[in-house]
């Protein structure tokens, strides 16, 4: 087992490469993330936080450089293999929650397990357990439109844990929540980090993050400062 759950070496991301509107967003970026750490990525709007997170989350390919997830070099993997990495190693939490509105909280949490081909009975039991863990034991059969923002984000966190990934990535997970609810979500992430050793990486503007994160990565003009 490698020490670093994520390693990024000489990452560059250039949008519209070779065109007039070329944008060099990430510049020669190097990054090592320890297992079980709690990382916050901060920086002004447009500094490339989401882009960096998407690359670390195998949703976006860097223009150059290498990304290792749990020791696996992801550069040469095809779409299929990248999908499997996302499915098995990474849990995503989004600012807009991105739950499937036609499905109940329980079904939403089951979804990644169904994608992974987990037996229906097992996926149901685990989804129920996860929803209880995030404090939504009483809301399992509600659909997202009938849940508050904070509750929806808890469902999203439960969903991100479904396939027992090692990393949870959140792009402004508290961005749509009021201050109190945002704090609850951060507390929940902290608890998962501490008690179950999940590696947490969040992009955030939330100033309270300093109290939660072990390490803060500050982006400016495509570089870590």
């Amino acid at each position: 087992m490698t020490k670093n759950i994520i390693e990024a070496m000489n990452i560059n991301k250039i949008f519209n490469l070779g065109m007039e509107n070329e944008l060099h967003i990430l510049k020669d970026m190097n990054l090592e993330i320890d297992r079980g750490s709690f990382i916050a990525i901060v920086g002004p709007s447009g500094s490339g936080k989401t882009t960096l997170l998407d690359i670390l989350g195998c949703l976006l390919k860097p223009t150059s450089g290498e990304v290792l997830i749990d020791g696996v070099i992801t550069n040469e993997l095809n779409d299929n293999e990248l999908a499997h990495i996302r499915r098995d190693k990474i849990g995503f939490v989004f600012q807009q929650y991105n739950l499937i509105s036609s499905q109940t909280a329980l079904e939403n949490v089951e979804l990644p397990m169904r994608i992974a081909g987990v037996h229906r009975k097992d996926s149901r039991r685990r989804a129920e357990k996860l929803l209880r863990t995030v404090g939504l034991g009483e809301r399992m059969y509600h659909r997202p439109p009938h849940l508050s923002g904070g509750e929806q984000q808890r469902v999203a966190i439960a969903r991100s844990l479904a396939n027992r990934p090692r990393i949870i990535m959140g792009d402004e997970p508290t961005g749509n929540l009021d201050s109190k609810t945002g704090k609850d979500i951060l507390d929940l992430l902290k608890r998962l980090n501490k008690e179950e050793n999940y590696t947490i990486i969040v992009v955030t503007h939330d100033l309270r993050i300093k109290k939660y994160a072990k390490r803060i990565i500050n982006l400016r003009d495509g570089r870590i400062i």
Binding site: D54, G57, L59, L60, D79, N80, A83, H84, R86, R87, D88, G91, F92, F94, N98, I100, S102, Q103, L111, P112, R114, I115, A116, R159, S160, N163
Partner: protein, 374 residues
Amino acid sequence: MLDLAYKNIMRQRTRTILTALGILIGIGAIVALGSIAEGIDTMVQSGLELTAGKITVMEKDAGFFGVMGELTDEDMEVIEGIGGIREIVPMLFYMENMIPMQGPEWTAIGIDPSKGEYFIGENAEMEDGRMIEEGESGVVVLGYTIANRYNTEVGDFWTIKEDDFEIVGVIEKTDISDIDTSIIVDFDDLMDVTDSDTYQMIYVIPDDIKDTERIAENIEDASERLDAMTTKEMARQAGEIVDQIRIFTFAIGAIAALVGGLGVMNTMIMAVMERRREIGVMKAIGATNRMVLTQILTESALISLIGGIGGIILGVIGSFFVSSIFGGGQITAVVTPMLALTGLLFALLLGVVGGFYPARKASKLDPVEALRYE
């Protein structure tokens, strides 16, 4: 993922039902029209049973369904001159009130009573009464269907042209529509009533069944006018015609169904557009391109299958109507399992083909793009 597919298509219930309806109408047309072809096939096949081991002689180019041509005693003499023949059975047909597309109201068949077995078969039993006897005049025997339809029985009279004939017997149901729907009359009687000196058909029965083909050839060699067909030859010709009818009816239905297929495509394109974000989420959390493709294809196939099953039901209902409209009761349109299966498979095909483009589009969706998109 079938339950997911079902849930997804039911999110837009009305749209799904309307789309399925498009398929339903097309498959309904395939099945209903196809049932006519099957009905014609059954009728023709049962007709062929009648001619097994016989040679059917008609005037050349006399149609299968159309005008039946004219044979004379001279033609009889030509045939008599050929060796190896056991029996020659001239037959006269009289069709009452012939309506194009629907056929006649009923058909009287004139045949020498002593040779009646060659038409109705040796084992035909009487439902009631008796057969016409040799030398007997002024009597008829009815097929089962015709007796029932006109609610007549032994002792009643049947009018052909101006003359009344006493009904002396009703033949038991044979399931051969040519027999069940006919009125059997003495040959000479029917010649007199219809005032004809020609007839339409001669059955030739060979001494030895192995000589059938050879005798048929001899007859054609002996006369320019005559067309001698064995059962084999008739089966081939009839098969060709029925196949053409099958293809034709399928083509009509297929065009209707194709329009339904376009509807499926349209619906799925809309569904993929509406669910862009959701598909992006699925991919972000680990669904492969192939899974997304399968998911969308399953949905479109499901819509089509629902339409297809409805179409088969509609087709079965339609086939009853068709039976009562066409063929004057001669044709019983049937939905064979094969036909139903064809309809279902065609629906499935439309679903998969129609769903392929949107499914492919969905599978290629870039999750980052889809998630950024508000």
